[in-house]
Symmetry: C2
Subunit: 357 residues, 2 copies
């Protein structure tokens, strides 16, 4: 099914309103999810809605959170999300970071007691719109094993760095710190295909290519895939995300991070509250005049874009470029939704008595 | 040859003094290099001394730099290294970051007009000693191709994140953003061994295992090795280092970064000054009380250290742990120097008329 942005916004907002969100929160949460759809990151879009609703039904998402700063210095803060939707909590925290950056040049906020925050790029782009460099990361429920271990101790823990440019769109590095994103596994499972070696291991830690291994105690591998190809670096990056997001804020870390799915219970010995995020903003003009920076960003982009390709059919892709392409395409042509997703969403509509898609 | 720390310090200091460095600068530059040796990172230790001397002879390293802050806001600054040794310039910049963090919670410094800064971990640890989280990165002369390109456009661009812990040593993630460090290639070249697929490509961009391919126009690959295993993520991380270190400060970026070796000339169309670094410090107590943070860091470390190993003989390695082991060992047993390195150093001693090792 093809759906247009405005119709999807109306539908999504109605779901959040039915959960009891305030109208401001419903609009913001919708913006984060629909932005993911527009940017072509379907794994983080409206397909997640039913999951959020199930967690809310279990009392693990609070639709009326009192989000607040619980600790701060001039340019740092810890925010407690009161178990709210990460889609709401993360923009609140980024706003705090931006206000500190406006005053002092930079702002850094660690967040506890939150939930899944959608695409990291959304939050980082809030800073870019103010001519700042944006940082966003989050920990996530454990699916990834550290190098040399057969236990799942880390989430796919994404990190995002976003930089404003001049005539080109912003450069946005937005990446899971695992070799492959979980969404890619799910696609292979659905299609009954094998996955490349280096994505996953089975429950004994043996490299395998059957995507179902993940469901029988296996794990995703850190970026780098194996020790020889630098998986200890992927592990180190994932650890960095975990520490900045959770050890620093008082959220759960490592294997204690609560699962994103309602049918799995959170550990009964939590080391903190909810999941954690880390957001930051740095004013470009704290380092050099904005126009100078943007001109050099444009030059950087042009040089990399025009670099000699291995295969003439595939030139170098600037980080963030494919998402801009998707946005242009989907504005004109609409957003393609899988039948399974449309069905789930219309089941939600039935549940809440709202208009179907 | 085995040499003890104090003897190596005296020798190294004499070399820097002979280059005309002030006694404070000679002591500091020595500390950075000898610390690398003690921590077992031989590729970034005294083996680099002859390279620094050759660059100084060519006028590309200034032994008497006037390092200064050229632009700043409350928590941000740009430092011009006046073509000094990165070993001196980076600690100066980190000191600026730390002082800002003491006042405002965080401090961030981008550096231009610098040179090779040794191990990133040295600079990040300066922050850790003050109960801060330390960040250090640097761009470097081009050896790495972006995904889909056969051109060398990026350095091995390391990033380092360092976190204080309680009863355990700090967690230090200090990693090149390429799949393999250049030092590992050099070892394989010396031993006449092949390297694993996924480390390098030849000048057409074809994956190869002959380590000499790098000398005939080939390139190192970004972390992830190929697109299917996430090399676009390694490229994105490397781009992040390049932008924060150089586009933000006014240093050279991408293919314009000057080579570390004196026999290669810098590009004649520079886009900035020297190479760039980026350093940062964030006070832990800007987020939560230091003792609370350290207790949870200890818990994090214990949980990961004790995680189920794939092979009982190899448990999970906490980032920074091997370096601590090396430091203990080398304090007692001395630092092993390769014969080739000892010979180079004693040639330097002859050149400058100082006492040999």
């Amino acid at each position: 099914m093809l759906v247009f942005e405005s119709a999807l916004r109306t539908f999504t907002e109605n779901v959040f309103l039915a959960m009891g969100c305030s109208s401001d929160h419903a609009r913001l949460a919708t913006d984060v999810l629909v932005r993911a759809e527009m940017r072509g990151i379907d794994s983080h879009g409206v397909a997640r809605l039913t999951g959020y609703v199930r967690l809310w039904e279990k009392g693990r998402i609070n639709a009326r959170p009192q989000i607040k700063v619980v600790h701060e210095a001039a340019t740092t803060a810890t925010v407690d999300g009161d178990a709210g939707l990460g889609l709401i909590v993360a923009p609140f925290a980024m706003q705090v970071a931006i206000e500190k950056a406006e005053k002092y040049g930079s702002g850094w906020v660690s967040v506890r007691n939150s939930n899944h925050f959608g695409i990291a790029g959304y939050h980082a782009l809030m800073a870019v719109e103010k001519d700042m460099i944006g940082f966003a990361m989050t920990n996530a429920s454990p699916l990834v094993s550290p190098t040399f271990s057969s236990e799942r101790l880390l989430g796919t823990n994404p990190m995002c760095y976003a930089f404003p440019a001049g005539k080109y769109p912003p450069v946005i590095v937005d990446m899971a710190t695992s070799a492959a994103a979980n969404g890619k596994l799910e696609i292979a499972q659905r299609l009954g295909k094998q996955v490349p070696e280096g994505w996953i291991q089975d429950k004994e830690g043996k490299p395998v290519t059957d995507p179902h291994a993940l469901k029988s105690g296996g794990a995703l591998l850190p970026l780098g895939s194996d020790r020889e190809h630098g998986s200890h670096k992927g592990f180190g990056l994932s650890a960095t995300v975990d520490i900045l997001s959770a050890v620093l804020s008082g959220a759960n870390y490592g294997p204690w991070v609560p699962p994103f799915v309602a049918f799995l219970e959170p550990p009964d010995d939590p080391v903190g509250a909810g999941i954690g995020h880390f957001l930051g903003a740095m004013r470009v003009d704290g380092f050099r005049p904005v126009e100078e920076f943007k001109n050099h960003m444009d030059n950087w982009i042009e040089r990399f874009k025009s670099s000699k390709p291995i295969d003439a059919a595939q030139r170098v892709v600037i980080p963030g470029e494919p998402e801009v392409g998707a946005e242009i395409d989907r504005k004109v042509n609409g957003i393609p939704l899988l039948d399974a997703v449309t069905k789930d969403l219309n089941d939600l509509a039935d549940k809440f008595g709202i208009t179907k898609l």
